[in-house]
């Protein structure tokens, strides 16, 4: 009964979405206020019904209702409750429902936090979100209904993919989807602005916090995915250039370009049509990611579905969204005047090059992901494009981005004096060269040419941003501590947010450089009582025993790790066989530290109590995720800047002022 209610709720949500896409938009075009005013209630209504559907599916999982096909495929009575709940989005249908829930959530958030916006703008934004929702709800109802029943009812479910029975993967998709779907708001603002024919600084200021929030979620989502892959897949990598990872990286790259170009549009009213194009691209790439993952065009660990009907639907949807918005862009954008003059050496120029590089990265990823398909389609032979190609191509460009990142924030808007910049960056340059020389010593670099380069670039970034801080604070009369506090309390927050996010890049660079060049891995065979030396640590193997988990049986190894005489860690790596069947899973044991991780993964039992094992020493690997966390933190702080709150606090804005003529 409850699953049918869920199904019904989805159908009602679809009807509401159709109304949401239609009435407010038509109202905004004809100036009919009551229709525009329907936008908010419809957005709330849609959220309510999608939430009911989601709750119905969650309920079916929690009570193990295996008469629901989707539940029987992705759950099991033995599954711990938390994973029963996260199993709701453990497969294709449920993850779409989660997507729709978030879309409705973002719509309701726009409805709530847009009191100061002119009504026609709100109406158009919410209508565009309604259009997107129609696509997803139709997709679900036509090809991927999560509430489908089947008969006979199996006594037991098939179990959730053991890979997904993990905390990291329980929270990774929601974060990622919040990011993906969040870009739909930036997209909706862009489309609304195109429809209204008014792209201005106000539009940029409205869409900026929304874009930042989406970007923060996406950053966290990607970092969680990387962290999860690191500890769960059992071979200690943190990025694989898997098509599914690439699918999430592309919107992130374009989104990063977007938040920078929005800054220019807000401050200087320049780059307007370019910013709109980026907003359209960011969301289109989110959809493309969904298409690549869901259609099964690229099969990989993550692809749950291979169904041509689904692929076709997404392809058509994708063409409609991208084609429609680009046509609108082509039609409307030329009318939007490009403003804001700036010189060759200026903040604007730096941000333009930043955008060029981020778009280039996106093209790289897109091209590398699709190349095998293209080559196959045109009969050019089968090729494999994996991490060797991606690493080489990224490393060819990344240093330029890092160099620019040291210069851009110091440059002034409009026009700057190259000699002023040179003087400012002198110290950073000298220190970076010094670090490069130190990094080049064999004891530091271990012979790897990238070590001095990476460390020098990180130094360059840090010193340049310290200069930036000094620049800002030294001229304040009140003295720097007070100036700092005043900044943090008020409008200056976004400045510190930027510094924090950029320092995150430096931290990330150090992490990647060190772990890529200095990690040590060793395959060994050990008997109980054996010990093995690796990177100054002694691993003592005490043996393995059987342990029972809630829905698996595991072999659990027991290790003591010593540094000299001191015991630094006690590790219990596992190899699990899930009762639901499938491949055995390696549960690596990790002793995490700021400067190094020690990582043990259990291979095969080779008889007589002996085990084949893999030991890893991973220096600075945490810095990769710490860097990502700093970037996300920067984004979050930027959103809290007072100028957005001011805009939000004002409730009684005269509606329609900005685009009365629409």
């Amino acid at each position: 009964m409850i699953p049918e209610l869920g199904h019904l709720a989805l159908i009602l949500a679809l009807l509401l979405a159709i109304a949401q896409a239609g009435f407010p938009l038509i109202g905004s075009l004809t100036g009919h206020r009551p229709w525009m005013a329907m936008a908010r209630p419809l957005a709330y209504g849609q959220l309510a019904f999608v939430a009911i559907a989601f709750a119905a599916l969650a309920d079916a999982f929690l009570i193990s209702d295996f008469s629901v096909l989707y539940v029987s495929q992705h759950s099991n009575t033995l599954l711990p409750d938390i994973y029963k709940f996260s199993a709701v989005w453990g497969g294709h249908e449920g993850s779409l429902l989660l997507w729709a829930l978030m879309l409705a959530g973002w719509g309701a958030a726009v409805a709530t936090f847009s009191r100061n916006l002119p009504l026609p703008v709100v109406a158009r934004v919410i209508s565009v979100l309604g259009l997107v929702a129609i696509g997803f709800l139709l997709f679900m109802l036509l090809t991927s209904n999560p509430f489908e029943r089947h008969f006979p009812v199996p006594p037991e479910g098939r179990d959730l993919n053991p890979l997904l029975q993990d905390f990291g993967l329980a929270v990774h998709p929601p974060m990622l989807y919040m990011g993906y779907v969040g870009f739909s708001v930036a997209f909706a603002f862009a489309i609304a602005a195109l429809i209204g024919g008014k792209l201005d600084a106000a539009w940029a200021r409205w869409s900026r916090p929304w874009t930042l929030v989406a970007w923060v979620f996406l950053t966290i989502g990607i970092a969680l995915g990387s962290w999860w892959a690191y500890y769960e897949l059992g071979w200690g990598g943190w990025w694989f250039w898997d098509p599914v990872e690439n699918a999430s990286l592309m919107p992130w790259l374009v989104g990063t370009a977007l938040i920078h170009s929005l800054a220019v549009t807000e401050k200087r009213a320049a780059f307007k049509s370019w910013t709109v194009l980026l907003a359209i691209s960011a969301f289109s790439l989110s959809l493309l990611g969904t298409f690549l993952v869901r259609s099964g065009v690229l099969t990989s660990v993550h692809a749950f579905a291979t169904d041509p009907a689904r692929g076709l639907f997404i392809l058509i949807f994708l063409c409609l969204v991208i084609g429609g918005s680009l046509s609108l862009y082509a039609w409307r954008a030329p009318q939007v005047a490009e403003g804001g003059r700036f010189g060759l050496v200026s903040r604007e120029s730096a941000l333009l090059v930043n955008n060029l590089l981020f778009v280039a990265f996106t093209v790289l990823v897109l091209f590398g992901t699709l190349a095998p398909l293209i080559y196959e389609a045109f009969d050019l032979g089968k090729i494999s494009v994996g991490f060797p190609w991606f690493n080489k191509m990224f490393l060819a460009l990344a240093p330029f981005l890092a160099l620019l990142l040291g210069i851009g924030p110091l440059a002034r808007w409009k026009q700057d004096d190259p000699w002023r910049l040179t003087r400012l960056l002198k110290t950073a340059f000298v220190l970076s060269i010094a670090i490069m020389a130190i990094g080049n010593l064999p004891i530091v670099s271990g012979g790897a040419a990238w070590v001095p380069v990476g460390l020098a670039l990180a130094t360059w970034l840090v010193v340049a941003h310290l200069h930036l801080l000094r620049e800002r604070l030294q001229h304040k009369q009140a003295g720097w501590p007070r100036a700092l506090l005043a900044d943090l309390g008020g409008n200056g927050r976004s400045f510190y947010a930027m510094v924090i996010a950029h320092l995150g890049v430096a931290v990330f660079i150090v992490g990647v450089t060190m772990v890529s060049n200095h990690e040590i891995e060793k395959d060994v065979r050990m008997s109980p009582g054996d010990s093995h030396e690796l990177a100054g640590y002694r691993f003592e193997f005490l043996g393995a025993r059987k342990v029972d988990g809630p829905n698996y049986i595991a072999d659990q190894g027991h290790f003591l790790v010593y540094r000299g005489k001191r015991q630094v860690a006690e590790l219990f790596p596992e190899k699990r066989a899930y009762l639901g069947g499938g491949m055995p899973m390696t549960e690596a044991a990790i002793d995490a530290g700021v400067f190094r991780d020690i990582y043990v993964s259990l291979g095969e039992g080779v008889g007589g109590g002996d085990w084949a094992l893999r030991l890893y020493y991973k220096p600075y690997v945490r810095w990769i995720w710490m860097g990502a966390v700093l970037m996300a933190l920067g984004g979050a702080i930027a959103v809290s800047d007072r100028r957005y709150r001011n805009a939000r606090a004002r409730r009684s804005a005269p509606a329609g002022v900005l685009d009365a003529k629409a």
Binding site: A269, G339, A360, D523, M585, E604, V657
Partner: protein
């Protein structure tokens, strides 16, 4: 179709879709020296697991990957130089077996395409920048600015915002 290729195709069918998630180890291979082990690691890192999605021979658990590893190991022990081993495998399985696509006319697009794109993009950017110098400054009109201020900052924030 040789029997070997047939069995390869069959294993490919069977193995497709089965993710490989546990760590195999190199323990079973014995080496004369650490240098030889490093060379072996390097070699299997350059080769691709033919039936997996996006995995090198070094990372893969698949049975076929194990067979191929054994073969590479045997060739190496027989004293064949690295290049010869790679050539032999490319001849048998095609370029697909190399994890890094080789540089040759059919892959020029892959290796240089992105840079051509960047070159064109850079050209457009530079042209825009130079064009900007002559372009008319088109600031917000006074009326627009007023309206924007009234809408955004009712309290007329005194601070200069910067980010």
């Amino acid at each position: 179709m040789s029997p070997r290729i047939k069995s390869l195709a069959l294993s490919a069918l069977l193995l497709l879709g089965s993710g490989s998630v546990s760590a195999y180890t190199l323990e079973e291979f014995k080496f004369d020296s650490p240098a030889q082990e490093a060379e072996f690691r390097d070699l299997i890192g350059k080769l691709r697991c033919l039936v997996c999605q996006n995995e090198s021979l070094a990372g893969s658990q698949a049975g076929l990957a194990q067979d191929l590893r054994n073969e590479v190991y045997a060739m190496m022990r027989a004293g064949q130089p690295k290049d010869e081993i790679l050539d032999f495998l490319v001849e048998r399985y095609g370029d697909f077996v190399l994890y890094e696509p080789p540089l040759k006319p059919s892959t020029y697009l892959l290796w240089f395409g992105p840079f051509v794109f960047i070159g064109v993009g850079a050209f457009v950017v530079v042209r825009t920048l130079l064009g900007k110098k002559q372009a008319q400054d088109e600031p917000l009109s006074e009326a627009e600015r007023e309206r924007l201020q009234a809408l955004m900052d009712p309290q007329r924030d005194a601070h200069s915002s910067d980010s």
